[in-house]
Amino acid sequence: MPRRRTSPLDLIDVDRLLTEEERAVRDVVRQVIDDRVRPYVAEWYEEAFLPVRELAPVFGGLGLLGMHLTGYGCAGASAVAYGLACMELEAGDSGVRSLVSVQGSLAMYAIWRFGGEEQKQRWLPRMAAGAAIGCFGLTEPDHGSDPASMKTRARRDGADWILDGSKMWITNAPVADVAVIWARLEDGLGGFVVPMDAPGVSVRTIGHKLSLRASPTGEIGLDGVRLPASARLPGAEGLKAALSCLTEARQGIAWGAIGAARECLDTTITYACTRDQFGKPIAQFQLTQAKLADMAVELQKAFLLAVHLGRAGDAGTLRPEQVSVGKLNNVREALAIARECRTIMGANGISGDYPVMRHAANLESVLTYEGTSEIHQLIIGQRLTGLNAFA
């Protein structure tokens, strides 16, 4: 008689590190994903579709959108609670977590942190409720890891601003009501709140993605977009402001990746216990158990790292290079777990009937966006050596 199986994250009882309130937040998000995402997401992925307009009000009703921000209809939750929510969202699909990350940590955070009162009042309550969708335009076709050399420009015309350029790989762009656009000024970089229906703004949906298919991604064209002086984010000075938004989002990603990996490992353990080869469940072979054990160990470590960084975030002591440690490790390990799970699942590992290949493919994007692994290695390396290896 086999002993009862233990879920990978229960192995070292990580729940003990969480407050009752944090567990309650996690449980609600898990329930919503069970109800609204898990039954449908394989189909969405196949069809390269995400029902953003249906999900956003549900997420908004919970308080998921901009949940770690305060005021303006935001929930004011802790960094750890936000992280746990990201974990459950990404256990559903990285695209669903991306929707929430971009809305809350990039678009809303930029307006909340750097916006004027009028901008906040105009956008944040609707974005928190999920009635308005935001996106974040930093990356350009020719400027990814090196945003400082972006080509999008903002020039003065009287009191107005005129924006010209293009932004690439922008999550939520095809469905967004508003974009936070970063542009080169005469002196450095600045941020602008751009309604997507402003004349001169165009969006092309990026097709043929083999990863993050359940997430709308677009290229934004800016052709002489005239904006009033009030469109500029008054507090956003230079590249540092844009990067601080990324630091926010990276925290959620470090948590989210754990969710994707957990889903893969849960699926794979169940599969391995019921799939018979050579007359017994493949989970009973030592090679399989070694793989499962190593993956479970990495999952615990990723969780402990995320909790540690989350608590630092709540204490206000979290530094950007620490966030890089979390993003680098957790996404890299999650991807390794997803790939290893695929090997145990055999041919079924590549089937859309199981979530493993979908998560593995998604995590290839997650590895790259919000700072590639290499960029995070450089951030950590610079902190270790005091030497800048970026250029």
């Binding site: 309650a24 937040v25 609670a81």
Partner: protein
């Protein structure tokens, strides 16, 4: 309207559940404990009535100290406060004793409306709402799939196997609900954070003037003498169709009273 919702913490019906080996009561210690699902519909109904007519919603629960977690979860959906009847002597209480305790607690709250789930997933006795109404001397509107509040008049559509009955009574009354009545909301994060600040009052048996020997295992009107594990599922009966397969299937179904 002053509404009290009865909430019971039960072992998760989706997980493995057991009885204790020492006294044959439900093993709550090793189980994953949750709010009785039907009670969530009662909470939702109470919140909707409060939203439409104003008033206050109080959660009332009887259970061990660990039930406080489910009470907080209930509060995170939106009720204003909670009363937790907790006393070691309550362990093993039968439905009759439970109704005695809850009725005493309800008298201290003097509600206009008592809402509860039509049954709990652990006991599944379905009699507590009726017993409460009897003890309180108010109407029992049970098994509701719809509830309408019009001033001091309550009208329910009472779900039956054939359809529904329309039953009306003046408030105060006890209304038990099925999961057809509404779609419970998810607790919001603001609700979760607000829940820990909401008043949660505990009452012991002494506060209610109930002697300990009238409740719990000592005062139970029925006793579980012994229990055993359900036998493992057997192979079942295979019918090979040799021309009479249909007849034999019907005979089987009729013998088992399925048709």
């Amino acid at each position: 309207m002053n509404i009290v919702v009865l909430v019971k913490q039960v072992p998760d019906s989706g997980a493995e559940r057991n009885l204790r080996s020492d006294d044959s009561t439900v093993d709550r210690g090793s189980a994953s404990n949750v709010i009785n699902e039907m009670d969530e519909y009662a909470i939702e109904e109470a919140l909707r009535i409060r939203e439409a007519h104003g008033g206050e919603v109080t959660v009332l629960s009887m259970g061990p100290a660990g039930a406080a977690e489910s009470i907080r979860k209930a509060l995170s959906m939106g009720p204003d406060g909670a009363v937790h009847v907790v006393d070691d002597a309550l362990h093993g209480s039968c439905a009759v004793a439970t109704s005695k305790v809850l009725a005493a607690a309800l008298r201290t709250l003097s509600p206009d409306l008592v809402l509860c789930g039509a049954e709990s997933t652990d006991g599944r006795v379905q009699v507590v709402p009726h017993m409460l109404a009897e003890r309180l001397g108010v109407a029992a509107l049970t098994g509701a799939r719809k509830l309408t509040v019009d001033g001091g008049t309550l009208t329910v559509e009472r779900q039956t196997e054939e359809g529904y009955e329309v039953v009306t009574a003046p408030a105060p009354a006890v209304v038990s609900v099925w999961d057809t009545i509404n779609e419970p909301r998810y607790p919001s994060f603001k609700g979760i954070m607000a829940a820990k600040k909401k008043p949660l009052r505990t009452l012991a048996l002494a506060d209610l003037g109930i002697p300990a020997d009238e409740v719990g295992l000592a005062g139970a009107t029925s006793a579980v003498v012994e229990h055993s594990q359900r036998p493992p599922r057997s192979g079942g009966q295979k019918i090979t169709d040799g021309g009479d397969g249909g007849v034999r299937l019907v005979e089987f179904l009729a013998a088992e009273k399925f048709v």
